[in-house]
């Protein structure tokens, strides 16, 4: 599955960068986030409860950051396990650019979802991922005191 998009956040780049690296801001922005902790500057562990339609799946996972260029970009690898529900893993790249009215966040993500969630939920997995990403940016923008404007987001299955 691929998930790419661009979001305009009404805040200057340093603030957005700080927010993306602040686990308290992330804890409030990630939909269903129950626990989040920073193990090292490059490693974050989290527990997240995904609620989509009839499905309730609690994932515990870790996020490894790399290629960090402050105020510009970073890459991350993530993997999570949802117990009986299945697992997810993938890579994402995030870039920040100055834009009129704030900061443009561009992201590209490649993820694979396995186990029962992959088999049963496969039909709507892209739409679900897009909804979670949109929810995240809405909440994230609110944390920074503004609104998120989705400029472009698309999900596809490859």
């Amino acid at each position: 599955m691929e998930l790419n998009g661009e979001q305009l956040i009404a805040a200057p780049i340093p603030e957005v960068w700080k927010g993306l690296n602040d686990i308290d801001v992330l804890a409030k922005s990630i939909p269903g986030c129950e626990e989040i902790s920073r193990i090292s500057p490059e490693e974050i562990h989290a527990k997240v409860m995904f609620k989509i339609g009839p499905v309730r799946a609690r994932f515990s996972g870790k996020l490894l950051l790399s290629d960090i260029v402050p105020d510009q970009s970073c890459s991350m690898a993530f993997e999570g396990s949802g117990g009986a529900a299945g697992f997810a893993k993938g890579r994402s790249r995030v870039e920040l650019k100055a834009a009129e009215g704030g900061t443009l966040i561009a992201y590209t993500t490649e993820a694979s979802i396995g186990g029962k969630l992959g088999q049963i939920g496969g039909r709507l997995i892209s739409a679900s991922a897009k909804k979670i990403a949109d929810d995240f940016f809405q909440k994230f923008a609110k944390e920074l005191g503004g609104e998120a404007v989705a400029l472009e987001s698309g999900a596809g299955d490859e």
Partner: protein
């Protein structure tokens, strides 16, 4: 697989069901036909601690004509809709759509309200309720409220229903004599979820359509109305040129989302195919 352990209650009154739902919070789940929920529980994709069986609630049952509306209770099964004379007379779109829902065994148990409350973007009833300008009747701790279908479906699997509310029934304006209906879906096999589908309603005089309501489903995160195409069609004589214009507009205005086997481009193409078929059906 088998579901994790849960408690089960079957209240006799709507007020009891509402207070049980309020107490249970997110650990409580309503069950009616169970055609989505039970599969999810058995796969352990959800583990609620209590199921509230609402199938004894009288307020949620039956199909009746109330004033100028057809009232369909939330517990009415797909089969009851398929076989109902009242539905055939007053909401023929629903009768046309019912056979497309899964298979008979599922239609015997699955309910009208369950399908609407889940808001699956590939489901037939949400799309039909939009085209028919249905009104949802909802009960919650503070009493009854009504909301139109167009404000009810918000996002993927997300409706305006609050966690402590129950969808009780739906009211649909009775079909008028000059109204025309068309329902079709394109699926790989009969009973599969549609790759793309269309629930269409319009008023027809001669070869002119007005009050067009063309709702596509299984193409986006909610059922979606082709408002630009409808505007092109309303009040204009229907001919090949107008059909081509409406088809192009519908393909342009709906931002189709891919699913696991079909690309967004394929869905966009099928939106046009369905619209063209419906308009040729109306003209014939």
């Amino acid at each position: 697989m088998k579901a994790a352990a849960f408690d089960y209650v079957k209240p006799k009154a709507l007020s009891d069901a509402l207070s049980l739902l309020e107490q249970g919070g997110d650990d409580a789940r309503l069950i009616a036909g169970g055609q989505t929920l039970l599969a999810t529980l058995n796969m352990r994709l959800s583990e609620p601690s209590i199921l509230i069986d609402i199938t004894d609630l009288a307020e949620l049952k039956g199909i009746s004509v109330v004033g100028d509306k057809l009232r369909i209770g939330a517990l009415v099964t797909h089969t009851e809709i398929e076989d109902s004379d009242l539905v055939a007379k007053h909401a023929p779109l629903l009768k046309a759509a019912a056979p497309h829902i899964a298979h008979r065994a599922i239609r015997n148990l699955g309910t009208w309200g369950g399908s609407l409350a889940y808001g699956d973007p590939a489901a037939e009833w949400p799309a039909c309720s939009l085209s028919l300008q249905a009104t949802m009747v909802i009960h919650g701790p503070t009493g009854e409220r009504k909301i139109s279908a167009k404000d009810f479906f918000i996002d993927l699997y997300t409706t305006s229903l609050e966690p402590d509310e129950i969808l009780v029934a739906t009211e649909i304006p009775l079909a008028k004599s000059h109204q025309v209906f068309y329902f079709h879906e394109l699926a790989r096999r009969h009973g599969d979820y549609a790759v793309a589908g269309l629930a269409a309603v319009a008023e027809k005089e001669g070869n002119v359509l007005t009050q067009c309501a063309f709702t596509f489903f299984s193409v986006s995160t909610t059922p979606v109305m082709a408002t630009a195409a409808q505007e092109i069609l309303n009040g204009q004589p229907l001919n090949e040129g107008l059909i081509a214009k409406a088809v192009a507009a519908a393909r342009k205005e709906i931002d189709a989302i891919a699913d696991i086997t079909n690309s967004a481009e394929a869905k966009t193409h099928l939106i046009g195919v369905l619209l063209e078929r419906s308009l040729k059906h109306f003209i014939a």
